[in-house]
């Protein structure tokens, strides 16, 4: 080993640690078709499950006849609620404190609801069986509008009406109507209303964030395998939180947790869709217990879009007050949240509207109020965080639209209005009016950098000229400039206020250093494309001084990984990344003692230097981490146990608050409604940057999902509760043809409480991107009197906006 002659820089580079653009270790298998997704799993004797689903959005089930289905060659069993009831599994708890039917128990509450589960020898026989299950329905009045639902005599959830002595409380307190789920509030309502009453200027708007869906390219699915000889259940599946799934399965099945092994294999994208527990998982487990052989269930795309995990559907009534010169004095928001037939939101227990109370955004707003009413309707359950922390995209969309609406009311430039109201660098840590304490930020620096990069003044001048040209009949294209400054709240979260089903939202990492100086680290998270095997190894390389290429990262197997709450809400880097660094530091602390022993000096006389411990004041005397690793296994060191392992469970002291400044420049053809994104500039500050290549990839992807949501993607229902967007024909997923190239940029404001200062990035571009695209569309029509128009801004809706503004002559 020629360490003596290599420079420090060379040694840093050889590690492939934090900050470098390390190529992904995952890619070899994915590019060669050797990924291992759940549908790739094939076990001996495996059966297939498939669902009979309700064609009606609200109906009573009069009868179910399975005789013809059972006669199909290859069909093994047909399960209905009546079969699950003796096991107590016809209903299951949701993550939001509600319960949900596994199979229809007397009635159905949304189109596509699971009615019966057909188990057969292959997927064709299962589909044939599904066709022949005869279900007699009695249609009931359908409620798809949450406001109407709160007025209606029609009772959706008959199971929640009590014994006639008043309406029983829900999981989050009193309910005010039989279709009401919860009321939740933050801030000071009275003080806010007082400020609004006395304000010089108040802008009001109703901002609807439409229902959509995460739609990862791989749908949800599982393989359940009950080994009756050993009493062990193995469950492979598309789980963003494998340990939480294990606990849920144990709680509802009664199988002891040590007899359940949950494995998340490669996951083909999650975006929030794969956080929850779905009837398919429960039915597959039951079917495997009943049949004694493995049972596979894989959703098709239509089932995925219609039933598992919608997102958004928030009606946000807003009022924002300011002085005449633009200083914001108060913010008021009341949200009506449409949760569908069951409240299956994936939020921390104490937050039924997630972290919607981050809706004061990047601004220093002295007083604010947020109230949220949750409502049952005849739509699919869910309310997941689609590429965002819990309801954070709703919050950011709301405040960034309200800022634009206020700018119009004040007749002020929207960039200027933001600058006047940004929380200043010296105000951090900043206690917001709705309760959160922002850890760090430098909004003015980021904003000024963005405005300069895009030549903001030049863009406004060009836009003004365009309006003149349009009015003069020289062009039919308008120009929109979309601005957004977002502040996210991610990394849930501190156990003191964040839990899911009573499980604290810490995360974990366990490291084993092998004698020859390589290592394996196991985490409680699970990558769905984020590249954890690459980036967590980089964190460790820097922390423990072994090359990233010598560190294997393993996730997703509850028999081997330490308990963790999984990957969603941009929590992997803030929580598991911190656990990784802390476990690495435990390794380093022990390595320091070993090094001191080997170098025959006191522990305090050695210090860590990239990949070794050196003697202070005599740097030529050192032991590399590789040498130390071997010593840990071959030396009897007094007072030190053999081996080199560590585990850390990290309970974050606070959330992290990534932020960013985005600008979108868009041309809009007034006669066709077609949008052309000329330029998109995205500056992200995610604190310490672990792998710039992966960060950039996350930003590109998040922006594209934002483009989809803002410009066309929605889950739409007709008045009968029929899903109108059940296939990729109708549900908009942009292709390479519709997507622009993005310009990425950054500032670095580390999180002061995170061991490596990282804040998380995967969801920022989605959260910031949605309002930015939407603001661009709205801004294009500002000169013609438009204040606000709802998303999604598809060509038809934009054409309609232009038409209503009288722009079609």
């Amino acid at each position: 080993m020629k360490d003596e002659v290599t420079t420090r820089e060379d040694r840093v580079e050889a590690l492939g640690g934090m900050g470098c653009k390390r190529k992904r270790v995952e890619d070899a298998r994915f590019t060669q078709g050797k990924g291992n997704y759940v549908d790739d799993l094939k076990l001996p004797g495996m059966l297939f499950g498939d669902f009979v689903r309700s064609p009606y959005a609200h109906a009573r089930i009069k009868s179910i006849n399975i005789d013809k289905a059972m006669a199909v060659d290859g069909v093994v069993a047909v399960l209905t609620a009546a079969d699950l009831e003796p096991l107590g599994l016809h209903w299951m708890p949701t993550l939001a404190g509600d319960k949900q039917m596994v199979l229809a128990d007397g009635k159905v509450l949304f189109q596509g609801q699971e009615v019966a589960y057909v188990v057969a020898k292959d997927r064709y026989a299962a589909a044939d069986g599904v066709e022949l299950v005869e279900v007699e329905y009695e249609e009931l009045e359908v409620l798809t509008d949450p406001f109407a639902a709160l007025e209606s005599d029609v009772v959706l959830r008959e199971d929640l009406q009590g014994d006639g002595n008043g309406l029983p409380d829900g999981a989050h307190g009193p309910r005010k109507h039989h279709n009401h789920i919860f009321y939740w509030e933050a801030g000071d309502k009275e003080a806010t209303e007082q400020v609004l009453e006395e304000a010089e200027v108040v802008a009001e708007e109703t901002v609807y964030y439409h229902r959509t869906h995460p739609c990862p390219l791989e749908t949800c699915g599982c393989v359940a395998s009950m080994d009756k000889v050993n009493g062990k259940l193995t469950l492979w599946g598309t789980f963003q939180a494998p340990h939480a799934i294990r606990t849920v399965v144990s709680l509802i099945s009664g199988i002891e947790e040590h007899n359940i092994r949950v494995i998340s294999p490669d996951i083909g994208g999650g975006f929030g869709n794969k956080v929850g527990a779905y009837p398919g998982y429960v039915c597959s487990v039951v079917a495997s217990i009943v049949t004694g052989v493995p049972v596979k269930w894989i959703e098709d795309r239509m089932e995925n879009l219609m039933t598992t995990a919608f997102a958004r559907d928030y009606w946000m009534d807003g009022k924002i007050s300011a002085t005449k010169d633009g200083k914001i004095t108060g913010l008021w928001c009341h949200t009506t949240a449409d949760h569908g037939g069951f409240d299956a939101c994936a939020d921390p227990t104490k937050f039924p509207a997630g972290f919607m109370n981050i809706c004061t955004g990047s601004y220093d707003i002295p007083v604010a109020y947020l109230g949220v009413d949750g409502v049952y309707t005849n739509k699919a359950p869910g309310g997941v965080s689609y590429r965002c922390s819990f309801r954070v995209t709703e919050a950011v969309y709301f405040i960034e639209r309200m800022i634009e609406v206020l700018a119009i009311k004040l007749n002020m430039d929207a960039s200027e209005l933001r600058k006047i109201n940004f929380i200043k660098k010296e105000q951090f840590p900043y206690k917001a009016a709705l309760g959160w304490e922002y850890d760090s930020g430098d909004y003015h620096t980021a904003w000024d950098k963005a405005m300069k990069a895009v030549d903001y003044d030049g863009l406004r001048a060009e836009q003004a000229q365009r309006v003149e040209d349009f009015k003069a009949g020289k062009t039919r294209k308008l120009m929109g400039i979309g601005l957004t400054h977002f502040t996210e709240i991610v990394g849930a979260g501190p156990v003191k206020n964040c839990d899911i089903l009573g499980l604290g939202m810490f995360d974990s990492c366990e490291i084993r250093i092998h004698p020859t100086g390589s290592a394996i680290a196991r985490l409680g998270t699970i990558s769905q494309g984020q590249g954890h095997a690459t980036t967590f190894a980089q964190i460790l390389a820097t922390e423990i001084g072994l090359p990233a290429d010598s560190i294997t990262i393993e996730e997703g197997d509850t028999d081997t990984a330490p308990y963790g709450l999984g990957t969603y809400g941009s929590r992997s880097t803030p929580v598991a990344g911190a656990a990784t660094a802390m476990a690495g530091r435990k390794i380093r602390a022990k390595a320091q003692m070993i090094a001191a022993y080997l170098l025959e000096v006191h522990d305090d006389d050695v210090e860590f230097d990239v990949d070794r411990f050196v003697v202070k004041g005599a740097r030529e005397k050192f032991k590399t981490m590789k040498e130390i690793a071997f010593a840990a296994y071959n030396q009897a060191i007094p007072g030190i146990e053999p081996g080199l392992e560590a585990v850390s469970y990290y309970d974050p002291p606070n959330m992290t608050y990534p932020f960013g400044a985005y600008v979108c420049v868009m041309d809009i053809d007034v006669d066709t409604g077609v949008t052309d994104i000329r330029r998109f500039y995205a500056l992200d500050d995610c604190g310490t940057r672990i792998n710039p290549m992966i960060i950039e990839g996350q930003v590109h992807g998040g922006l594209t999902e934002a483009l989809a949501v803002a410009l066309g993607q929605e889950i739409a229902y007709d008045e009968m509760g029929n899903v109108k967007t059940g296939t990729l024909m109708d549900f908009f997923l942009p292709t390479a043809w519709e997507v622009p190239n993005y310009e990425t940029d950054y500032t670095v404001t580390p999180s002061p409480h995170h061991p490596i200062g990282a804040k998380g990035v995967g969801e920022s571009p989605h959260v910031g991107g949605v309002p930015c695209f939407s603001n661009a569309v709205n801004d294009a029509f500002r000169a013609f009197g438009l204040t606000h128009t709802h998303m999604p801004h598809d060509h038809w809706r934009i054409w309609k906006t232009a038409n209503e503004l009288g722009l079609h002559g």
Binding site: Q32, G33, C215, P216, E218, G268, G269, L733, T735, A736
Partner: protein
């Protein structure tokens, strides 16, 4: 038994012969009968392209083709493009330029790109975007996919020129 058909096809250079119901979809033949799990199922409606394979020189979405229609044909999947010892230029380029994240669309994406570069060895960015519009990716936003394909095109061109 039921109306099974005698099917013969060549998949990744190997002759395959079996009896199958004519309604069996080619993607299921590949994945479940032949254990070729590189092509994936993303939509079952020909929109997403995760199941893209090459049949007799054309890009085909195998989720909406009956195995009966593939009778007698030559089928190439991602597994036939290259492996650990003979990576296809595109397979290397996708890794080099971070052209993938979750990996679910990647086999179909690379299989389609390989045909695109045969149809048009020197494409512009616009031609790549148009030529790849039948393959959906939910993770990357396409920017690095386009970059990967253009880089692979340059590399293939350079190799071709060097050979001439």
């Amino acid at each position: 038994m039921s109306n099974k058909m005698h099917i013969k096809m060549n998949v990744n250079g190997e002759e395959q012969e079996f009896l199958a119901e004519p309604r069996e979809l080619l993607i299921h033949t590949l994945r479940e009968r032949l254990d070729i799990t590189g092509p994936h199922i993303g939509c079952e409606t020909s929109h997403c392209g995760a199941c893209t394979v090459t049949i007799d020189g054309k890009s085909v979405k195998s989720c909406t083709m009956f195995v009966a229609q593939a009778n007698g044909k030559d089928v190439t999947t991602i597994e036939g493009l290259g492996g650990p010892d003979d990576l296809h230029v595109l397979q290397s380029a996708f890794k080099e330029h971070h052209g993938l994240q979750c990996g679910f669309c990647t086999p179909g994406m690379i299989t389609r790109a390989s045909k695109l570069l045969e149809e048009n060895p020197n494409p512009t960015e616009e031609e790549v975007r148009f030529g790849m519009a039948g393959n959906i990716c939910r993770c990357t936003g396409y920017q690095n996919i386009v970059k990967s394909i253009l880089a692979a095109a340059s590399e293939l061109q350079a190799a071709k020129e060097a050979a001439e």
